[in-house]
């Protein structure tokens, strides 16, 4: 069964350091999403790509977060500098396209970030 691959699974870093997460979506999925889930809360969208273009990054803290999907396939989410409040699970998901309701999002296993 096709999966969304994410790495690393776990990352511990000190505040003010830089961290990066990688995601490889299901082959052929044009739309890629980065969500953040804080413990006890639901996932919240950070950024959405359609192929290599950003569709929605309205909730991305752009002073410290950046995301790219240069060739429209895999993607990297970067945080610099990391803050204590960034401790969360970072989830990548992909879907076939943008049609509302037509496509289910498939999530990866996530990258758990702990900022000390």
């Amino acid at each position: 069964e096709a999966e969304v691959a994410q790495s690393p699974r776990y990352k511990i870093t000190e505040k003010s350091q830089a961290v990066a997460f990688w995601c490889d979506p299901i082959s052929g999925h044009a739309t890629l999403y980065w969500y953040r889930q804080i413990l006890g809360q639901g996932p919240e969208l950070l950024v959405q790509f359609q192929d290599e273009s950003v569709v929605d990054d309205s909730q991305l803290p752009k002073d410290r977060f950046s995301a790219e999907r240069l060739k429209g396939v895999d993607s990297t989410l970067k945080i610099q500098p990391a803050e204590l409040g960034d401790s969360a699970m970072y989830l990548c998901a992909s879907s076939l396209g943008l049609a509302s309701g037509a496509n289910v999002l498939t999530f990866g296993a996530g990258s758990r970030l702990t900022v000390l």
Binding site: V4, Q50, L91, S100, A109
Partner: protein, 113 residues
């Protein structure tokens, strides 16, 4: 502004009985609703969905009911099994939203033997 709400953070049921998980939403533009299940240290996995043009969708032990006038949906699991113990998230999307999902805060279901 929490557009999708799951007011019960936890639910405990006995094996074999029915589990009912509830979800309320405020955005009348939502036209597609999904339920995801999440085990610890894993990503959410899709369970079942329903379009706003329907009021019920069934898949094996799982049934989702939608009451648009009340802006309420529920997930029924019958019979409940220990392997169903997980966090369940309700999610919704709206037209023009690029298939972006808005999630509730989740309900922790525990199915006891």
């Amino acid at each position: 502004d929490q557009q999708v709400k799951q007011n019960s953070p936890s639910l405990s049921v006995q094996e074999g009985r029915i589990s009912i998980l509830n979800c309320d939403y405020t955005n009348s533009m939502f036209d597609y609703f999904l339920w995801y299940k999440k085990y610890p240290a894993e990503g959410p996995t899709f369970l079942i969905s329903i379009s706003s043009i329907k009021d019920k969708n069934e898949d094996g032990r799982f049934t989702v009911f939608l009451n648009k006038s009340a802006k309420h949906l529920s997930l029924h699991i019958v019979p409940s099994q220990p392997g169903d113990s997980a966090v369940y998230f309700c999610a919704a999307s709206a037209p023009g939203g690029g298939n972006k999902l808005t999630f509730g805060t989740g309900t922790q279901l525990k199915v006891e033997l």
